[in-house]
Amino acid sequence: MLALIILILGTSFVLYTLLGGADFGAGIIEIFAGKREEKTITRAIAPVWEANHVWLILAVVILFTGFPLVYSSLSLVLHIPLMLVLIGIIFRGSAFTFRHYDVSYGRSHRYYTFLFKASSFITPMFLGITLGAMILGRITFNQSVGFYEMFVSPWLNVFCFIMGVFSTSLFAYIAAVFLIPEAHEDKEKNKYTRLARNTMASTITSGILVFIAAQWEGHNLVSDFLKSPISIISLAVVALLVPVILHFIHTKKAVYLRASIGLQVTAIVTGWFAIQYPVVINVKDGHHLTFFNTHAPDATLKQLLIALMVGLVLVIPAFIFLFRVFKVKE
């Protein structure tokens, strides 16, 4: 039962990274784009971003119902970066919608666009920082260490910053790849192709930097990684997919592109999950919070699982229908 819930949590996290990530990434891509791209991006994400966003809400709900201690601990010590994630979420969603529905193309349009781009950048940055803090293991629940040590230093460091950069590049990369088949003209397609290659390069670079930064901050991520066969396989999959995706970027085949990047993102998230499984939050004093020492009683897990099962039975066909209507019928 617990395993199944963890699996669903992982799946919703993967889907949020892939789909929600693509929506945030589109905002980052827009920084490097013009009016024409703005139209394509709006058309591509308007019908789906709210549904995509719900994968995050699902993950949060699973966390606070199934693993209340993880949820309450994270929200206590990572209050500041999480608050900034929220500010990003608020502005991205509202600015995007305001821009889409506002009838005027005047000054307000420019403000909305600015807010949309800025918040599309801030959210993945601080999401990455938050994840970095969960990995790094500077988190402490000992109030006596003082404000800075408890609420700031766990996330304000080189490693977490690089994690933020990595998430931001990853989201931009996913978006660029997804946008290639959305564009109607060749010139625009070529622009996304170029951006996809560049963001892929920056994702790989920052991915390598994540490991270096971890060593620099004194967290031996490389040895943890080498201990986990699943992580090694995942990394191999990620690496093998690089030339494959580059090929599909070149041929611009929508279905293959979407499938291969989906697989790659799954492998990245699986690799991370496996490195620290079953630990969710590495804690300074060594009393790590794991799935096993934080989960809710069985009665709750059972009800959660029922709700999730019924939910998935309803949501998955609806989701497929949504994507068929807006992404296949082009």
Binding site: A46, P47, V48, E50, A51, H53, V54, L56, I57, L58, V60, V61, I62, F64, T65, G66, P68, L69, Y71, S72, L74, S75, L76, H79, M83, V85, L86, I87, I89, I90, F91, R92, G93, S94, F96, T97, F98, H100, Y101, V103, S108, A296, P297, A299, T300, Q303, L304, A307, L308, V310, G311, L314, V315, A318, F319, F321, L322, V325, F326, K329
Partner: protein
Amino acid sequence: MEDLVAARLQMALSLGFHIIFSCIGMTMPVLMAFSEWRWLRTGKQVYLDVTKAWSKGVAIFFAVGAVSGTVLSFELGLLWPEFMKHAGAIIGMPFSWEGTAFFVEAIALGVFLYGWNRLNKWVHWISGVVVGISGVLSGIFVVAANAWMNSPSGFDWVDGKAVNIDPVKAMFNDAWLSQSIHMTLAAFVATSFAVAGVHAFLLLKNRTNTFHHEAVRSALIFGAVAAILQPISGDFSAKFVAKNQPGKLAAMEALYKTSKPAGLVIGGIPNDKEQKVDYAIHIPKLLSYLAHGDFTAEVTGLDKIPKDEQPPVLVPHIAFQLMVACGTVLALAGMLYIIFSYKWQYILFKRWWLTFIAFTTPLGFIAVEAGWTVTEVGRQPWIIFGVMRTKDAVSSMPGLQYSFFLITGVYILLTFILIRLMRRQIKTVPELYESAKS
């Protein structure tokens, strides 16, 4: 600013902001589906135009509702980690169902808003119905979680820990039904009257406009029925509160001393020092009847509640009076609407009637905000009634006021943009829709 105060203000602001959008999200899909159904049945262009014009507003409000709801799902932990540590496993169930319902709602709304030209008409209409049903359900689930805070059940509290957790019992706690009905009706009253009010205001400029007339009519059908039912549900809720949370009822009614029989206090300003209500109207015996269905029943006053468990009186009392006042006006408006539309239809075109409906625009939402103030402030000092105090649940992070200031700034900005945006939307209606021109 004290951290507890900052956290409470931030929570109040976030809930008070989000609730407007949730009410709209619960009601508007039903109104749109109704209007689209009329179009499908009659083929009259005006119904389609109304549906389309509404759907644009809904898209904007729904987006803000989705993000402000996300904020709340995080704030439960960011502000009240001690509460969520214990309550998560108990009330996670309604939240997981809410997540499911909201998921379906978001998907169906995407289909509804953007699928006009891609789908069969009836499939499109069904997507609207699905949005409506899942919207109402997700509202009910969230309210069930709040009801649990007023009427905690489904666990035993042993040495500061919840044991023997039964999430099903927790979800279907004693308060869930009365609160859910009251909130769902409130959402329909507030949104329908606000929509009708805006269209009535526009009708005042041109009283023969069919577009606005049909919009007012579609909205008021729902608004009137809900507004008439609401006092009945309110009575049901009050009787429950009288039994379950006598301290809250005493605060709402500013009943300082236990009385048998107890009179109803209308209006006035509670005076904690002298334990009486200044400038109020007193109706003898009525509170006994309203609370217990018996003119001679004893009603518990604040004197029977231990000093450190008493809620504040001023805020719940005034908020309660405000809610009842707005609700009464709206129930009256609902009754008049039904009478007029059966007997004297010409009145519905009269200037005074349209002015009156335009005046009701904010009343439902004022009542919603006031009602939530009553239930939340009236529960104090508890976060889980009788189990955990609010001050023991708050985050131990110092400087919570900065979070509060930040969120306040963001929400003020959003409100300002939304008002401007909606005004612009309304201005373009005659350009976009043929039926709105004359």
